[in-house]
């Protein structure tokens, strides 16, 4: 919520008004604007969303949705149930493994969803040299970690159990092969 508030304060209001002028009230987990709009932050938690039921809104933004449980999402969705076409749900996340409800939703061919994929390479705030060094640090540009964290790819949950370097080292020219 602190990030949201900071971002809001950085906005410039129209007609000479500052964003600050439109800020009616502010707390740790919400801000209320002069026009009656509210932005609230709800913790996901591990209780399946039991503590956040009951709210109503027109826009839900779920951060890191891939890591949210299906139970939590089941509790969140009804918040826009009465808003008809004005009710919107925005899901943001670093991809994880190609499994679970989040991956299935992203892969589903459903025109009611608009899907966007933005990689670290497209982010002007990330230095390319830093990204190249980071790739080396976490196993190369083909590694599961790099593809997930920076290339926005859902990755196969399976990992080879036998590394190439170890296998290469196992080759020997001194073994007497049994021919049969």
């Amino acid at each position: 919520m602190a990030m949201v508030t900071k971002f809001y304060r950085a906005l410039t209001g129209g007609e000479g008004r500052t964003a600050e002028d439109d800020l009616e009230s502010e707390s740790k987990l919400s801000i209320t604007l002069a026009n009656g709009s509210e932005i609230r932050a709800y913790p996901g938690g591990a209780d399946g969303g039991n503590k956040i039921r009951g709210a109503t809104c027109e826009l839900i933004v779920v951060d890191e949705f891939v890591r949210c449980s299906l139970e939590l999402m089941t509790a969140v969705r009804p918040m826009i149930s009465t808003k008809g076409k004005n009710g919107r749900l925005i899901l943001l996340s670093t991809p994880g493994f190609a499994t679970g409800w989040g991956w299935e939703l992203f892969m589903r061919d459903d025109p009611s969803w608009q899907k966007e994929r933005v990689t670290a390479l497209e982010n002007p705030r990330i230095d390319k040299a830093w990204l190249a060094a980071e790739a080396l640090e976490i196993g190369g540009i083909d590694s599961v970690a790099y593809r997930s964290e920076y290339l926005a790819e859902f990755t196969d949950p399976s990992e080879s159990l036998f590394g190439s370097a170890i296998l290469e080292a196992a080759l020997s020219d001194d073994i007497s092969v049994i021919r049969w």
Partner: protein, 247 residues
């Protein structure tokens, strides 16, 4: 090893050692061969792997090891060599598999070798045929399970062992990661074996259940090699023998 004393082994328990440029080594090598067989019929290949363990125990004047197996493993862990790899073609019948196994076991170099067969699924038929033919006196029938305890149990019918797939894979991993499993470079099937190993993976289901196997292609040679290694790998309770298994 530079000096047994560095490992906390009392000098009176060293047994006779030969001193070489690399330090103390045991006087006698102990070798044991095992053949792993992963039977298949129509869809997969039938994998065959021959692995040899080469153990260099400290020995007394009678050639008997003077250290218990745990100490010996710490002192001079055995190395393992893949002596042969082979895929029998798809569609080969049970009798043809048994005939090939019989030919292999009769090979002069295979005297005293253990035959470890995957008895799961159609493998049970192959085990029955091998037993009926009486071609493999040292036969271990292994049914792989999802167990993660690392303990083998006797199969319900008492004729073989139930072993977690994880245990079979962990043995291979341990040997490869410690540089103790060697693979012949010039064997054509070694390339296939390496490809199988590279694509061999662990997959967790949504409920967290682990399953092992090739993410792409086949894993018959990996299965066969893991069975051979299992037959040779030291067990906490001592090495498997046909007597201890009562087979």
């Amino acid at each position: 090893m530079e000096n047994p004393a560095d490992y906390g082994i009392p000098s009176q328990e060293w047994g006779p050692c030969a001193i070489t440029a690399s330090g103390y080594v045991a006087a006698v090598e102990r070798r044991q061969l095992a053949c792993g067989l992963d039977p298949a019929n129509l869809v997969d290949f039938c994998g065959v792997a021959i692995v040899e363990s080469i153990e260099s125990p400290e020995v007394d004047a009678q050639g008997q090891p003077v250290l218990d197996i745990n100490q010996r493993q710490k002192l001079l862990p055995a190395r393992y060599e893949v002596r042969s790899l082979r895929r029998l073609p798809r569609g080969v019948g049970y009798l043809a598999i048994v005939a090939e196994v019989g030919r292999l076991i009769a090979h002069p170099e295979m005297r005293g070798a253990v035959l470890c067969v995957d008895a799961g699924g159609l493998g049970g038929v192959v085990v029955d045929l091998i037993q009926a033919a009486g071609i493999a006196p040292n036969l271990i029938a292994v049914t792989t399970t999802g167990s993660v305890t690392g303990k083998e149990t006797r199969s319900p019918d008492g004729t073989g062992l139930c072993v977690g797939k994880q245990q079979l894979v962990a043995n291979l991993q341990t040997l490869l990661q410690t540089g103790r499993l060697l693979i012949p470079r010039d064997l054509p099937e070694s390339k296939t074996f390496l490809e199988e190993l590279k694509s061999y993976s662990l997959t967790l289901s949504a409920s967290g259940h682990p399953s092992y196997g090739a993410s792409t292609g086949h894993d018959d040679l990996v299965s066969a090699a893991s069975l051979a290694v299992f037959a040779l790998y030291p067990k906490k309770m001592g090495a498997w023998t046909t007597e201890s298994l009562e087979l």
